[in-house]
């Protein structure tokens, strides 16, 4: 099948690859770039396990073609920790507040929470619940995820105030 060259920025690095028109972004990330943090849970945009950040929006990469990401700036879970390994406050918050169990939804959940906190740095519990309604979790019952996101929001605000 004919392939098309695409160029995009993933976690701050420019990547160029030839892909088929029909290749889904999630398969491109996982199989071509070996960024396996985003997962596939439904392939129908319902579960959010494949959520990544694309051009400042949360997207479900299972229903976007890789060719649609031409020129895009994408951030995945692999791009969240600092270069020295320091965890992002959301990653730290999920661990501190026991916001994960099997870990399968976690990368998508954290990427969604990241964008939510960009849009609303100090969300209420109800706003957090609404903000992650497109991401399903079968293990935690969400209560500790809400706490984890609140934890991170607090840390990020302290950090911002210090800067």
């Amino acid at each position: 099948m004919v392939k098309k060259l695409i160029s995009l920025i993933v976690n701050g690095e420019t990547v160029e690859r030839a892909v088929e028109d029909r290749t889904l972004l999630i398969h491109f990330l996982r199989e071509d770039l070996a960024l396996k943090g985003a997962h596939i849970g439904c392939e129908t945009t319902h579960c959010g396990a494949c959520t990544v950040d694309m051009n400042g929006r949360s997207v479900k990469s299972c229903t976007i073609f890789a060719v649609q990401a031409e020129g895009a700036r994408i951030r995945t879970i692999e791009g969240m920790a600092e270069a020295d390994g320091t965890l992002h406050p959301l990653q730290e918050g999920f661990r501190q507040e026991h916001g994960l169990q099997c870990g399968y939804c976690t990368p998508g959940m954290i990427m969604r929470a990241h964008r939510l906190l960009q849009e609303n740095p100090n969300p209420s519990d109800d706003e957090i619940r609404m903000g992650i309604a497109g991401n399903l979790c079968r293990c935690t019952g969400y209560q500790n995820i809400v706490k984890a996101i609140r934890h991170a929001a607090g840390k990020l605000q302290v950090r911002e105030a210090a800067e």
Binding site: E20, R22, T23, H27, R30, E31, A34, L35, K36, G37, A38, H39, I40, G41, C42, E43, T44, H46, C47, A49, T76, I77, E78, M80, A81, L87, Q91, E92, F94, R95, Q96, H98, L100, Q101, C102, G103, Y104, C105, T106, P107, I110, I128, R129, M130, I132, A133, G134, N135, L136, C137, R138, C139, T140, G141, Y142, Q143, N144, I145, V146
Partner: protein
């Protein structure tokens, strides 16, 4: 840290039993560095995909695979005809039946596996699936289990039509699987005949699905030169898979390595053996290349496992003042097209006979009939111990229905019939010996915490307002007091394929005082890497952070029966404790040698041995580990390691009291959960943080089941509910806020008193929600509404009661 460090500080450093230790596995999961089956990539790996049946019941007339084979990248197209020479077209199920790997002559449920395609990538495999044409001749489908044994019911299983008996005794009809009965029928019938009050209700527990976020998957790699098969997969019980693979494929067991890497949730879905696993192995054997199979969500919901589908006609007999005198039940169990239930061999209805619940019921009798229908096979324990959630749902609904008939309060009737604390160990009418419990304390704590009497007063006021026409809202209070039976189990009761349901732990202490332990279970999110290390830390004095826990690789882990039925802590956790004690015993001999005293003169103190009365003369476990490799007593083997295979003497019996407060808008049928209070008693609490997380998750799954989940079929056998458009998984928005509480009644027979908790909230939660919804209508003519309590169903129920026009 030295001998002068206070005990409290040394204990804290261990992060042992009782500590809210942060999870070890989270470090990789929060960075997207988990290793799930679909993350596995091997050189030359191929992808498999299925052609599935569009019909529930049809004869296969022809399969045309030429067009698919002509597609570049397609490596093989396999049908039952290809498997017959290998005798692989059927595989044994855990329930003593067989299941078609690829449909042979007939299809028996919609989305059944018919053809397996193998191609160089998943897109080409999907293209090939589209190119394959299968000709069918439709046959009449059997969807309603109540019609399965009608004289004119269609014959489903032609492959066993002449078998007069199955794995569990005689069959009385061509669609009959088994009849299983327990209890004292004459005494029970006599108690009912003479009872002042009786209730009887058909209580159906709908077909639903565990639906973990990660679907089922496998990667098989056959090394033809050495004759070795490596199989990665979503396996809750990897050792059992190895044994089954050896039996099916005829490969000696030592030549098979099964690896369950990180698993994205299981909830019972990943206990069974599915055609996809078998076909990835067959594909790899045929082609000599690794073959990956990953099911999509529709395949998951419609073909690999289902849960429940139990239709329970339950009865209680009681005195006029509310003393329960007998329980009787008949269950019609819909097992689908093949009996692929995951139950201990002796119990085709699992541990359903825990259905006398938390109550001292003198006599009982239960009979279960299993039948075939044109539906997906399965019958897995969705976050419960083998049919325990069905049992708890039936008894907890029946007690409410009895309370309603007697005009008694639901909590009061329960308390009146509780097994009393002094009665433990308690022998139930259906044969179980409950190990321990303190039911009144738990119940009273919960009633006090929620302000039960005030809630009932508020409910009465809302009912009065509703009747007066000033409000359209009703309040329901759901009380649930459940007793579980988990930790399967004693090998005298429980085996899988003849293998006793023990579990195991092997620990090796390194010279510098750290350790590795391996177990026969397999975490799917429960946090075993964290909690097992806590048990070992307490037992050995080695800090939990210095103990690596490994599971899931059959080449390295000792044989175990896996993780399901809340058995990891009760069984493998016990093995941990005992293996740790064995290490400590050897360390004590080494300490005696080093301190030049008799070992009886030593006492254990958190993380080392000290001379009784001379605590300053001590050897820490770290020092003893080093000595184990250079200075052991004469005649002693070097090294410091232990292995323990634990066969529990009994099950454990966790219990809990749950209260659900619901508000129903009768005009729309919508239910709002105002409050949910859950008290769990799981005995000794190893990691309270993880326990609370398990309870939150289990309650959320219970909420999903009670309020929305159903896999149902139309009259032609089309599956409905097999996608996330149709199958209800609660989001953060619908999910209620959970309040948790506990009491702690240790199991007397368990080495550390732990009972298991993962499934309690599902077992106890479902009746709490359902009782709340039913309770709202109990004074308006309602008796029992079948689950799930979706808004349209509740609205229709209210309409049937004449409450909406």
């Amino acid at each position: 840290m030295n001998e002068h460090t206070p005990i409290s500080e040394r204990t804290a450093k261990l992060e042992g039993i009782g500590c809210k230790r942060k999870r070890v596995e989270d470090i990789r999961f929060v960075q997207g560095k988990g290793n799930y089956v679909d993350d596995i990539v091997l050189p030359g790996m191929l992808f498999g995909d299925f052609v599935r049946s569009p019909y529930a019941h049809a004869r296969i007339k022809a399969i045309h695979k030429e067009a698919a084979l002509a597609l570049p990248g397609v490596k093989a197209v396999l049908t039952a005809a290809d498997l017959i020479p290998l005798n692989l077209h059927y595989m044994p199920t855990l329930a003593g039946d067989v299941q078609a790997v690829l449909a042979h002559e007939k299809v028996l449920f919609q989305n059944q596996e018919v053809v397996f395609v193998i191609a160089t990538d998943r897109y080409i495999a999907a293209d090939a699936v589209e190119l394959i044409e299968v000709e069918y001749e439709e046959l009449p489908p059997l969807v309603d289990p109540f019609k399965a044994m009608a004289p004119d019911a269609p014959l489903l299983r032609e492959d066993i039509k002449d078998k007069a008996s199955g794995a569990h005794g005689p069959r009385k009809h061509h669609n009959h699987i088994f009849t299983w009965a327990v209890g004292d029928k004459p005494s029970t019938d006599a108690a009912f005949a003479g009872a002042a009050v009786t209730v009887k209700e058909l209580i159906s527990y709908q077909r639903c699905h565990p639906c973990p976020m990660e679907t089922c998957a496998s990667v098989a790699s056959m090394d033809k030169i050495n004759g070795e098969l490596t199989l990665w997969g979503t396996f809750q019980a990897p050792h059992v898979v190895r044994t089954v693979a050896s039996l099916i494929a005829g490969i000696p067991e030592h030549k098979i390595r099964v690896i369950a890497p990180d698993i994205g949730g299981g909830f019972g879905n990943k206990v069974g053996v599915y055609p996809g696993y078998v076909m990835s192995v067959v594909g790899s054997i045929v082609l000599g290349k690794p073959v990956k199979w990953v099911e999509d969500r529709i395949e998951n919901l419609s073909a690999t496992a289902f849960a429940r589908d139990y239709h329970m006609t339950g009865e209680l007999a009681a005195t006029s003042d509310g003393r329960i005198t007998a329980l009787r039940a008949h269950v019609l169990a819909d097992h689908g097209a093949f009996d692929a239930c995951a139950d201990p061999t002796k119990f085709p209805a699992g541990l359903f006979h825990i259905c006398t619940g938390s109550y001292d019921i003198p006599v009982a009798h239960v009979e279960v009939d299993g039948v075939y229908t044109n539906k997906a096979p399965g019958g897995v324990a969705y976050r419960c111990s083998f049919r325990v959630t069905e049992a708890a749902y039936m008894i907890e609904r029946l007690v409410d229905i009895l309370a309603q008939k007697l005009g008694m309060d639901a909590a009061e009737l329960r308390s009146k019939n509780f097994i009393q604390t002094a009665q433990f160990p308690y022998k139930s009418a259906l044969g179980w010996e409950y190990d321990s419990g303190d039911y009144p304390t738990a119940m009273n704590k919960v009633l006090g915490a929620v302000g039960y009497d005030a809630l009932r007063a508020e409910q009465a006021q809302m009912l009065a307002d509703f009747k007066a026409g000033t409000s359209r809202k009703l309040m329901g209070i759901g009380v649930s007091f459940f007793t579980e039976i988990v930790g399967a189990g004693p090998s005298k009761n429980c085996d899988i394929l003849g293998i006793g349901m023990f579990d195991s732990c092997e620990i090796r202490v390194h010279p510098t005082g750290s350790a590795i332990a391996r177990l026969g279970t397999k975490s799917q999110g429960q946090g075993h890497e964290t909690t097992y290390a806590q048990i070992l830390a307490t037992e050995t004095g080695i800090p939990a952070d210095m103990i690596t826990i490994e599971e899931g690789d059959t080449d390295t882990a000792p044989y175990g029966l896996g993780t399901y039925g809340s058995r990891s802590t009760p069984v493998a956790g016990a093995a941990c404790s005992r293996a740790g004690k064995k290490v400590r015993q050897k360390a004590q001999m080494i300490a005696a040698h080093l301190l030049e005293v008799h070992h009886d003169d030593l006492e254990w103190d958190v993380d080392g041995f000290q001379i009784k009365g001379l605590p300053e003369r001590r050897k820490s476990m770290k020092e003893l580990a080093w000595a184990a490799y250079n200075d052991v007593p004469p005649g002693m083997e070097m090294g410091l390691e232990a292995v323990d295979y634990y066969d529990p003497p009994n099950f454990t019996f966790p219990f809990g009291a749950y209260i659900c407060v619901a508000e129903i808008d009768v005009e729309t049928g919508e239910t709002k959960i105002r409050r949910f209070y859950a008290l769990d008693d799981c005995g000794t609490r190893i990691n309270p943080m993880i326990i609370e997380g398990q309870v939150h998750g289990g309650l959320t799954e219970a909420f999903g089941i009670a309020m929305g989940q159903i896999i149902d079929y139309d009259e032609t056998g089309n599956v409905r509910g097999a996608s996330f458009m149709d199958y209800f998984l609660p989001t953060a928005v619908e999910t209620p806020y959970w309040e948790t509480d506990y009491t702690e009644t240790p199991s007397p027979h368990h080495p550390i008193g732990a009972k298991g908790v993962g499934e309690s909230p599902n077992v106890g939660g479902v009746p709490a929600f359902s009782n709340a919804v039913n309770d709202a209508f109990a004074k308006l003519g309602g008796v029992h509404m079948q689950m799930p309590h979706t808004a349209p169903r509740v609205w229709n129920y209210a309409k049937g009661l004449g409450l909406v026009s």
